[in-house]
Amino acid sequence: MTGVEIAGIGLHPFGRFDGVTLTDMGASAVGHALAEAGVGRGGFQAAFCGTAYGGVATGHKVLGALGMTGMPIVDVEAGCASGAAALMLGSAAIRGGQYDTVLVFGVEKMPRGIIRSSFFDPWQEEAGYAATPAYFGLRAQRFMRTSGVTKDHLAAVVVKNRRHGVHNPDAMYRSEVAADAVLASRVVCEPLHLWMLCSPNEGAAAVVLRRGAPAAGGTGAGRVELAAAVLRSHLPGAVLSESTPMAGLTDDSLPTPTTLAADDAYEVAGLGPRDLDVVECQDTDAARELMSYEELGLCPPGGAAEMLEAGVSSIGGRLPVNPSGGLLSKGEPLGASALGQVVELVRQLRGEAGERQVHGARVGLAHTVGRGANAGVVVLRRS
């Protein structure tokens, strides 16, 4: 199968940037990625832009600001997985022979506070059903009841990711926190405290995809191959799925969208969770990260707490998770989130991650999941 390589990356830091427009942030990230790839005007044949809140023709505005329009520009919305969806489309177009070089980027400038979503009907908002953190809280409570995870584990996830984030100059929060302080922050929706939830914010990320030599053909040392980019939605029935239905079935055997996407991605990439060296996963809330360990197959069912306690998922452990600091440190600009993970993994696989480097990392996985439901799983491999 045709290989796809990541030829360049660019990132606008995640945070709050009053006076900086969505277009400014996007142009910054795209400019860096194109420069790194040595691609100029006319050097890419299509662009896919992930955004959930950007509005009409966000991608056109960004590329218009750079004087680089003319090719097809497609905005892609898939909630928290918008960037992964854009990556899936861009890489498929290369693998299918349609294009040689594709620009994929994501931009977001989130409103402050609890995310308002057009997903909910007006009556649902009026009656209090648009309380996104409440769904996270219910999911966390159920997970805790079935997995042996306690509030102390949730705090430990925050402590770990914030410790990782200290070394990420592109993160919003760059200070360590103590478990006691996490547990002392106010309760948003039991069992979740404020510091266990990521902050919606602003940022942009971009990658240039290029047709590479066949995957088995040796594309040269140090190149990063996009081994899989998969998007899946939910199967109907799970009441606490990210699809946030009004009701669900009592069947607990349904695979989650994350598991569906991960299984597909492992098959496409021709590897499994045991082959991974580094993971960036969705930590919208601290429990979500631990659920992801199980859903991605990083640990056996019921093994998330042990994996965390043993330090497996910390930098220095066997399989560091969220060495970037995760969304708990970076914040979450929806459309840029998944591609921000990809930028982090490329840096890790190139050995350019500085003090947060996962030494010897060759295979990385990025995971996003959110409204829709949409789950994205991306696998990168250093050749």
Binding site: E126, A131, C189
Partner: protein, 149 residues
Amino acid sequence: MSSTVPVHPGLFTEDDPPRLLGGRCHACGHHHFPRHDICPYCASADTEGAELSGVGRLWAWTAVTHPPPGYRGETPYGFGVVELPEGLRIVTRLTEPDPGRLRADQPMHLVTDPLHTDEEGRRVVTYAFAPDETPSPGETLSPEETVSR
């Protein structure tokens, strides 16, 4: 006398006690809520409307402490999932806003819950589940204590 109006039509009856208005699929046998013409679980169009049980058991619960976007009621309010005998889990408001006063598998029943008074002076109501009895102090468990067992 002020009149009462449901927050949205077709969700629940205005009987006392109220009942949720769902549906049942003849093809797969599953119930659903709210009412859909197409079964959300098997895509069959062979469905009919069905009033759902007004009683169930508490499956998950929390409380919302800050008003979410567009919300017009009071905070805090209880929020959770109640499992009905039909094999359906309902996402619902709970009348109990203190998670420490609820426990897993607790019997619950459906009630109408006032949200706010609208511009025309009408009481806007929605559906909610209420605990059948308030547990005595010795029985109360915080969610954390419940889950650590």
